[in-house]
């Protein structure tokens, strides 16, 4: 089996040329959504964006979590975590409840609001290309290697080396390594990540754990609840019956005595 793949995006190397944005549109056959790619935002027509923050440029795309919220919350299992590490979506299963959009800690999934047969749309880490042994379209298009594609373990190593070797240059954290339990998109930056529009409020543990604790209690609640209710039914019924019989025997006694 092939190793899990991912992306390392280095803000300090990005020149904001928008080649990744264009390559992504082409690869996924997406229509133009904004004349100025720097002003575009994620939508059903845009799976990755390059945002400008002063002299810095920051890419936004699906983080392909190790334990994705979307996979865990989807009632019909339309989301799956593939062997390449990509989080995939099957529109034939989808019922359109949009819980994935509500639950995603990175607020990534977008919806085709304008159609009557809507689908969820997002980056799939160029699943078909990667399966065929190629890079993702964005990594291939990047002229400065700001977007690197490769095996996850190698990318983590590279990221750690860069932080160690350039202590002054980098903000000493790898975004995406621990956020929501970590994922397959890692980001390096020279400034704190909140300044580049990355959410800092994300817990460090996998999101599905929050729900798991409640879901685990369902079988015991059903078992204990069922037994309790059945038991109470028999008990109270018996109690009423005994009370009734006692009442009747009292009556009988009363009539006999008189």
């Amino acid at each position: 089996m092939s190793k899990e793949k991912g992306i390392l995006f280095d803000v300090t190397l990005c020149i904001g040329c928008g080649e990744c944005y264009k390559a992504c549109k082409e690869e996924n056959k997406l229509p133009q959504s904004n004349k100025d790619y720097l002003k575009d935002h994620l939508s059903d027509k845009t799976f990755t964006v390059v945002e400008q923050y002063g002299n810095n440029y920051a890419r936004k795309l699906c983080m392909h979590c190790n334990e994705p919220s979307c996979v865990s919350v989807c009632p019909v299992g339309a989301f799956t975590k593939s062997e390449t590490g990509a989080v995939l979506y099957d529109s034939n299963k989808c019922i359109g409840c949009r819980y994935c959009m509500q639950a995603c800690p990175h607020k990534i999934p977008r919806y085709e609001w304008e159609t009557t047969q809507p689908r969820i749309r997002k980056c799939v880490l160029c699943y078909d290309r990667v399966k065929a042994g190629k890079l993702t379209a964005c990594a291939e298009a990047c002229p400065t290697e700001a977007t690197l594609f490769g095996d996850m373990d190698k990318l983590i190593e590279i990221a750690k080396d860069r932080l160690k070797e350039n202590k002054d240059k980098y903000f000493q954290e790898i975004y995406g390594l621990k956020e929501a339990g970590g994922g397959h998109v890692l980001i390096l930056s020279n400034v704190p990540f909140e300044q580049l529009g990355y959410t800092s409020l994300i817990p460090q543990q996998p999101m599905p754990e929050f729900t798991k604790r409640a879901m685990e209690k369902i079988p015991p609640v059903v078992a204990v609840g069922g037994l309790f209710l059945t038991g109470m039914y028999w008990l109270t019924k018996r109690k009423n019956q005994i009370a009734k019989e006692e009442n009747e025997s009292l009556h009988r006694k009363y009539y006999h005595e008189n």
Partner: protein
């Protein structure tokens, strides 16, 4: 009723016809133009008024399982007369919810997928199953009321035989369903405002729905007695109000102990729209009803019980709207207010449910106590005749 009487225009009839017409227009618009055109939903606000109303419909239906359990499982027959109104309310509440889900789902034609495509990790999967199963239970619980009208005795007998397992299944499905609405938000700790986010959300949702559901029964009993000029069984409603009081106190204690333990009390001192709405919710839905219900004179006055039930229900509505809409606004970065179509479809379903309630209450024996008594007598006669057979 004569046809002329039905067609006689009254203010409410005209308003209702108008609402239903607009609602139908909006429904057609939603299905031909899509969710984007019909709603103000957005990529970062994927759930709106319709989902919020689903919480209300299900929550206010809670009396359906609490009263059924009290009477049939705990054999507490003082509440016999409330079983049918409670079941009917629950059934119509769930009907509204199903209606709203059909318009809200992006692919309503795929609603049955969770039946064959399973994901046990998903709260939404649990909810879908609960809706389908509990609606079936309600249908079976309500069926005798309809069958009686047409004098169909055999199916009623069969239903009576399996009635206890049905009630038990109903209580279990409801328990899961009510609490799972709270569980839905467990996965959004970074998004839902801290005053509402809690790991105890499922417990809070479960406890608060009982008080709201029972208040709904007081509310309906009062309105029904006023509309049909019948008497009201004040003793039963007073007992119900004591249960509501206990439930509200429990709910309040859990909420504040939880805020205290998780160190969130500080948020109460931060002035923001969310904080004010939280205060409003607690004041109207918890403080006022607890204060008023602690006086015996208010508990034994039907007008006051009616007013208190309105407070409790309003507080409940505020709470669910806060969790599903207001509490998420800040993190979505977009102010959401429902569109015309969202509102008109919701109003249409509520109006239709009210008319259905009225129609069923008028034509079938729902609130009619005499009938329930007669039924009880019948039951006793039956058991006597059974006794005779046994003794022979």
């Amino acid at each position: 009723m004569k046809i002329n009487e039905i067609l006689k225009p009254t203010f409410w009839k005209i308003v209702s016809v108008l609402i239903v017409t607009l609602g139908l227009y909006s429904t057609i618009f939603r299905f031909t133009k899509g969710l984007g055109a019909a709603t103000h939903l957005y990529d970062t606000v994927p759930w709106g008024l319709w989902i919020g109303f689903d919480f209300l419909g299900v929550g206010l239906a809670a009396a359906g399982f609490t009263i059924a359990a009290t009477v049939h499982i705990f054999n507490f027959h003082k509440f016999d007369s409330l079983v049918r109104p409670a079941i009917l309310t629950a059934f119509l509440g769930y009907s509204v919810v199903v209606g709203l889900l059909i318009v809200d789902l992006g692919r309503p034609e795929n609603f049955w997928h969770p039946l064959i495509m399973w994901n046990f990790h998903s709260v939404m999967f649990e909810i879908t199953w609960c809706i389908i199963c509990y609606s079936t239970v309600l249908l079976l619980e309500l069926a005798p009321v309809v069958l009686e009208k047409f004098g169909l005795k055999t199916p009623i007998k069969i239903l009576k035989k399996i009635s206890i397992p049905i009630v038990i299944a109903g209580v279990l499905f409801s328990t899961l369903h009510q609490s799972s609405f709270g569980s839905l938000y467990l996965i959004v700790p970074g998004r839902l405002h801290p005053l509402w986010y809690s790991s105890l959300l499922p417990v809070q949702f479960y406890i608060s729905c009982i008080g709201a559901g029972l208040s709904m029964i007081i509310f309906e009993s009062y309105l029904n007695a006023r509309a049909f000029k019948t008497g009201i069984n004040l003793e039963v409603l007073s007992t119900i109000s004591i249960i509501i009081l206990v439930d509200l106190i429990l709910s309040f204690v859990i909420k504040f102990v939880d805020l205290f333990v998780s160190g969130k009390l500080i948020y109460l001192a931060i002035p923001s729209l969310e904080t004010y709405l939280f205060y409003l919710e607690i004041l109207v839905g918890t403080f006022l009803p607890i204060y008023l219900l602690s006086f015996k004179k208010f508990r034994e006055d039907k007008m006051w019980l009616y007013i208190i039930s309105i407070f409790t229900i309003s507080g409940f509505i505020l709470n669910r709207m806060n969790v599903s809409i207001t509490g998420l606004t800040a993190s979505s970065g977009k102010n959401y207010f429902p569109s015309f179509d969202e509102i008109s479809i919701t109003l249409m379903l509520v109006v239709l449910a009210m008319y259905a309630f009225n129609l069923i209450a008028k034509n079938l024996s729902v609130f009619n106590e005499e009938n329930n008594d007669r039924e009880l007598n019948k039951k006793e006669n039956m058991s006597e005749s059974q006794k005779l057979i046994l003794s022979e």
